[in-house]
């Protein structure tokens, strides 16, 4: 293990991650996590690595990308650690550090793109974006897509926020403010 105190401090300060130092390694989080068995490390172990500065291994882990945001761990952590929020932070840090993007990131980005453009999302728009990157995973959902289409449940036309110009200005400003900080 090579310790990377700089990256760790960024996690501690910018991302309010210092509270993971309070973790007593009880394992409640990993035990509650629906997808723990597919994770490289459960949340507990990930935190043990992060607080000792093993950032490279932590940021390359699939753990946070498999987090489903169920908040199960967070409501039960005996030390009151905002585990799910730290999963979000570690995803953002992995992207910042240029870790090879996993499938879930592509899904998120295909979700965000139509939102940025129209302010609202349709399943079709998100899936189309994702399908370009991951045809296999998308194919697995093709059957479902057909069924939904047959039931007239898919919307092919993008949905746009009524005051889209204002929406875009707000998002633009947010981007700018974020760059500043």
């Amino acid at each position: 293990m090579t310790a990377d105190p700089v990256l760790r401090d960024r996690f501690f300060k910018k991302y309010h991650g210092a509270e993971i130092q309070n973790c007593i390694q009880c394992g409640t989080c990993s035990g509650s996590c629906p997808l723990a068995e597919h994770m490289d490390f459960g949340p507990r172990q990930l935190f043990a690595m992060v607080r000792e500065g093993d950032m490279s291994a932590a940021l390359h882990a699939n753990t946070m990308w498999l987090c489903v945001s169920c908040y199960h761990c967070m409501v039960k952590c005996p030390r009151g650690i905002s585990i799910t929020d730290h999963m979000y932070s570690l995803k953002k840090m992995a992207v910042e550090e240029g870790v090879k993007a996993p499938k879930m990131l592509h899904l998120y980005l295909s979700f965000n793109a139509p939102v940025e453009k129209h302010g609202r999302l349709t399943d079709v728009a998100a899936m189309a974006g994702f399908g370009l990157r991951h045809p296999l995973a998308a194919l697995g959902n093709m059957g479902l897509g057909m069924k939904l289409a047959a039931k007239n449940r898919l919307e092919f036309k993008p949905r746009t926020v009524s005051n889209i110009a204002g929406f875009k200005k707000v998002m633009e400003k947010a981007k700018e403010l974020e760059r500043l900080s």
Partner: protein, 599 residues
């Protein structure tokens, strides 16, 4: 007095007594079924049949409701009597072939199969239920109908609000026919035994627990039908010692004491809010205290470790730190749970041979012989899994989970999530300060820490004492502790109290506060600031007074009094001001005089 012959012997009875009563007084056994000494006999079952010779005639009568007469001759044990009873039992067996009391009687009378056509009923029509309900002042149920339709029922065959759900009928019924949920409109509320932590029921008059001091029964006024409605009162008729007194009330007893030892103990954490452990939802999830009862020879299972449906468990999970070390509940370590959990593991293994899984965060065994006990448990093959359990569920993932409770936890040392099917789950619940501790603390003038335990005078040097002289603490009221520590502290506190008493005198502070009654206007602010509780208000004089045996001379009150009515002996305001003045206007060179290091 009435004199008659009973099985050839001359006996006497009071006027109006029934044959059965006199026979019982003389130790003559007559079988009965519908007789109950709290109730008027009804002669329904006819099992108590005896042979009577009177006035030159022989008759067979039901002894439970036949009044004795001078000169009668009663035989309880003749061939003919036996024959009649046997036929009666045979008829009962035909009516209720599955009812245990009847089956037992049939066995006694050597009946295998009744000669009559069998029915499938479980009501003997003994009328005990209807008579006891009458006694409860209700009459919610009665024997109604004719012939074959004769049965126990409520008016209009519907649930009724006449029934108060007292449960007397259900408990008196010899066959188990009565289920008051079919009778009452109210929610039946079984009386759960506090001592057996809800695992068994108790009656409205009961012994709190076998070692109770004083060893006397108490009446639960919320449940007692007599105290609620004025009816029933059967316990009073029964109690031969005449000890039942319905007029008794709680009493407040005032005792003058020179010293007080506070030993209010703890109460177990209630795990209901930890819904992920399913306590109260899954019958086989127990608290540690409940398990103590199950394991106890006088407990609801007579010490046999079995599930509620009577199975011997094959696997048992023990979950540590339930409520403890958890900032959502109690942030401290309860200190005793690791060790008692291991005791449980040992007992379960010894008594049932089951696999035992201990789920722990850290094993804390800091005591003489404790680590060795842990090692012994390891040698016994207990599974120690380091991980706090995340949930107990009956969700079936694999066939082995069927009919089991699945305990889910990360095995943090093997770094894998495990789902272990077990038959029984024991929650090692933590310790909380006993309810009411705030009130006691206020009463004796001592303080509590942020978790609600009593603050000792000093954690190392004054563990038994409190800031108030003569008030000592012992046991868990100060914080979680095990039995040896509690005993040690108890003995220590007793010793401290005794040493005060044996001295016979009290050394008090010289510098105590005095209140000038002329200046005191009775605002009582001093009373509130005194941490030792040394000040009390004298209502007749409308002034506050200092108890010099308690006062420590801290001066809080003197500083608080708006009227400057309080002075601290030897440190009164004039004296203090003079000293300050002396320092401020001291002549040059005074530093040397005061031993200071002049430049």
């Amino acid at each position: 007095m009435i004199t008659f012959t009973l099985n050839g012997k001359e006996v006497q009875g009071k006027k109006g007594q029934y044959i059965l009563q006199v026979a019982q007084e003389h130790g003559v056994e007559i079988p009965t079924l519908c007789y109950h000494k709290a109730l008027e006999p009804a002669g329904m079952c006819r099992l108590c049949m005896v042979e009577m010779h009177y006035g030159g005639r022989v008759r067979y009568v039901t002894s439970c409701n036949y009044v004795i007469r001078d000169g009668m001759e009663i035989k309880t044990d003749t061939e003919e009597v036996h024959h009649i009873r046997k036929v009666i039992v045979e008829m009962m067996l035909a009516r209720c072939p599955e009812v245990p009391v009847v089956k037992k009687l049939a066995q006694q009378y050597g009946i295998k199969e009744p000669r009559f056509k069998t029915e499938d009923d479980d009501c003997l029509l003994c009328g005990l239920c209807t008579r006891i309900c009458e006694k409860m002042g209700r009459g919610a149920i009665s024997l109604t109908g004719r012939g074959l339709e004769f049965k126990v029922d409520t008016p209009f065959h519907a649930q009724t609000d006449v029934c108060m759900a007292c449960g007397a009928c259900e408990s008196i019924c010899p066959t188990g026919h009565i289920d008051i949920r079919n009778i009452t409109k109210y929610e039946p509320r079984p009386l759960l035994s506090e001592w057996d932590v809800g695992l068994a029921t108790r009656s409205a008059v009961y012994l709190p627990f076998p070692q109770a001091v004083p060893l006397a029964a108490v009446i639960d006024p919320e449940a007692c039908v007599h105290l609620r409605t004025g009816n029933c009162g059967v316990c009073k008729e029964f109690c031969e010692a005449g000890a039942i007194d319905f007029n008794q009330k709680d009493e407040i007893v005032e005792i003058n004491a020179g010293s007080i030892i506070v030993a209010t103990g703890f109460e177990p954490f209630d795990p209901t809010p930890l819904t992920q452990y399913g306590f109260g939802r899954y019958p086989e999830v127990y608290t540690s205290i409940q398990f103590e009862r199950i394991n106890n020879a006088t407990g609801p299972t007579a010490g046999e470790i079995v599930t509620k449906d009577g199975r011997k468990p094959e696997a048992v999970a023990i979950i540590h730190c339930v409520g403890s070390r958890d900032q959502n509940h109690m942030k401290y370590c309860s200190r005793i749970c690791c060790m008692y959990s291991m005791k449980f593991a040992h007992l379960v293994r010894e008594k049932t041979g089951a696999e035992v899984y201990e789920f722990y965060i850290d094993i804390r065994s800091p005591g003489k012989g404790y680590e060795e006990f842990y090692n012994r448990l390891q040698e016994e093959g207990t599974h120690f899994i380091r991980g706090k359990v995340s949930q107990v569920t009956d969700i079936v993932d694999s066939p082995e989970d069927e009919g089991k409770l699945v305990v889910v936890a990360e095995d943090t040392l093997a770094r894998t999530v495990r789902r272990i099917p077990v038959d029984m789950v024991i929650l090692s619940v933590g310790l909380k300060p006993a309810a009411g501790i705030e009130e006691i603390a206020r009463m004796v003038g001592i303080s509590l820490d942020s978790d609600g335990w009593i603050n000792e005078l000093h954690p190392k040097l004054g563990p038994l004492a409190t800031p108030s002289d003569g008030i000592f603490i012992a046991g868990c009221c100060q914080g979680p502790k095990d039995i040896p520590d509690s005993v040690a502290q108890g003995q220590g506190a007793a010793g401290e109290a005794l040493s005060l008493i044996s001295r016979g005198k009290l050394e008090i502070e010289a510098a105590v506060s005095v209140i000038d009654p002329e200046r005191c206007m009775g605002c009582r602010q001093c009373e509130m600031v005194c941490v030792y509780g040394a000040i009390s208000y004298n209502a007749s004089l409308s002034v506050c007074e200092v108890n010099t045996a308690i006062c420590k001379g801290c001066g809080n009150c003197a500083a608080t009094c708006p009227n400057k009515a309080i002075e601290l002996r030897h440190f009164n305001n004039d004296e203090l001001l003079a000293e300050v003045e002396g320092l401020m206007f001291a002549p040059v060179g005074i530093e040397e005089h005061l031993g200071g290091t002049a430049m």
